[in-house]
Symmetry: C2
Subunit: 329 residues, 2 copies
């Protein structure tokens, strides 16, 4: 296990110390393992929180800040945070305009966010993200899994909240993004959870898992490793088959790295994805290329497409200031 850690049991706590040290503009509650905007709660603004198992960094703590999340709850690696964490986050970002919970569709996350919502007096609306077209149900999910679209929901709903829109509208924006986004991923290697000390699943060299989940859950099928062009086709075709992405104001095309795949390969993938989209008559309005929702040290990539309208593009372009996404400020 080649990891830069101190102790498998302390990885999340240690990383949060690092986040606190590197980002003095954020505030870290080390006991509850919640990362807050330094100025939370922002009076009169809808608070946005998310959270989930750790191991997907920069998701979620890397997206805390002006124009995106107000707080993020860090669970243990690949393990849902507990309701107490979500209660602390919800109360800590409650500026009087209600709180939106952005929840990836995994059974534990959904259940714990629901319990937390019942435990607070704050008005809470939850939006569940379920953009992964690979499988209908999985080991950890009833219904589709939430993956890459989570990043887009957090950015775009975060911008809507920053405009002081009311809770119902911010939730509507989040639902619209989720409804118009689809994703699919591939793994070239497994990942290794520090506490387990061995790969989560067995993937022989020269094979890849198409439709992989972000915790190493099985995908659709295992096939021999292909070229970037072939892999891009395997990821984009099911996405395009699931929703009509032509027309409108184009798409936000997001090629995501799973953790261990270097950026040069993500750009090779992006070249293939954009060529496929051009051929399919899908216009790219904006792009995002990089490791934004990862699976520890898994090698692989995912593709997310979001069918955009003018409102989505304006909210995407709005200023954001977080550790992992920043522009305009």
């Amino acid at each position: 296990m080649n990891k830069l850690i101190n102790d498998p049991a302390r990885v999340v706590a240690d990383a949060l110390r690092g986040v606190a040290a590197a980002h003095p503009e954020l505030r870290v509650d080390h006991e509850q393992r919640v990362v807050f905007r330094g100025d939370a709660p922002v009076r009169g603004k809808v608070g946005l929180i998310s959270g989930g198992g750790s191991g997907h960094e920069p998701l979620h703590a890397g997206f805390v800040g002006m124009g995106m999340l107000d707080a993020a709850c860090a669970g243990e690696i690949f393990t849902s945070p507990v309701p107490d964490q979500m209660v602390a986050a919800t109360q800590g970002v409650d500026g009087g305009a209600g709180v939106l919970h952005i929840v990836k569709n995994y059974t534990g996350d959904v259940m714990n966010f629901e319990m937390a919502a019942e435990m607070v007096e704050t008005e809470v609306v939850a939006v569940v993200v379920d953009d992964d077209v690979a499988v209908q149900d999985s080991l950890y999910t009833a219904g589709r899994r939430g993956v890459g679209a989570t990043v887009l929901v957090e950015k775009i709903a975060g911008a809507a909240a920053e405009q002081s829109r009311p809770l119902g509208e911010v939730a509507e924006v989040a639902r619209k993004v989720n409804a118009n986004a689809r994703s699919m991923g591939v793994a070239l290697t497994s990942c290794t959870v520090p506490a387990a000390g061995k790969p989560t699943f067995d993937l022989p060299a020269g094979q890849m898992e198409v439709g992989i989940g972000i915790h190493g859950e099985p995908g659709r099928r295992r096939v021999p490793a292909g070229t970037a062009a072939e892999v891009a086709e395997m990821l984009v075709a099911p996405v395009l088959a699931d929703l009509d992405f032509t027309g409108g104001d184009g798409v936000i095309a997001f090629v995501n790295g799973m953790g261990a795949t270097p950026l040069i390969e993500l750009y090779v993938m992006y070249a293939e994805v954009s060529a496929i989209l051009e051929k399919a008559g899908v216009r790219i309005a904006r792009s995002l290329v990089g490791p934004y929702i990862t699976s520890l040290d898994m090698a692989g990539a995912s593709v997310t497409l979001l069918k955009a309208d003018d409102e989505i593009l304006r909210l995407w372009d709005a200023p954001v200031r977080t550790p992992a996404l920043r522009w305009g400020v």
Copy 2:
């Protein structure tokens, strides 16, 4: 070899297609393999170019844009670009105020940038970056290697150029950054050059190479893998021993990922680095955490410290708009 590529011989060309597709604000000369700012040459501004072997992404093309580089030359993987590329880049960014060459200290890069400077009529000043304290000479270098400080030189000198300072002053800023920066890295795994198809060096599981170069060149010693705290000490101690980082206006502390090491581990490392610096009386003024100068799919990290003064911090904070570093715009 688990890589998302089409053909080992086409990786750089394919990635540049991806860069062009993802970043319409840049202009890619696919024949010369040079990535330009879309508005280059900027009249009256000193042009900044850099370049080197590919495989270190986002360095250098990911740092092309307002406030940083005007152009970047992409060599083959771990291979210096040829002088013709540097000539094309130099001429393409010549806005009448001269051009600064930012050159990492590798024999091929230094020689080819020198030849290019002789082949153009543009006024050129070269600044060689050599911040790696690990080894005095190496397989590819006379003198110290240029590593993490390159990112800081490009950002800070880029900001100086954006203020319309003359060539001599911009070069002086670049030299000051290099003179006040020191780095050291560690590898937990080798990397695999696509055309070679097998790991560049042999590193048994449970061992690490302390003082690794960004092409897998040998470092100072091979030791059993340690905790993040131990590794941080092995990297920071030689850096602190090489230059007095106390006093002044604090340091810019940069924890860099080598490619395959996930962000959560880089934050664990940052926590340890910041604790060591605090104990040593070194104040952190700014930080940067992430994979910014990588070695393909190598697992590992490096630490760069830059002793800052007020001018350096102001230039660091100045607006920048590139694919990989962006703020203020």
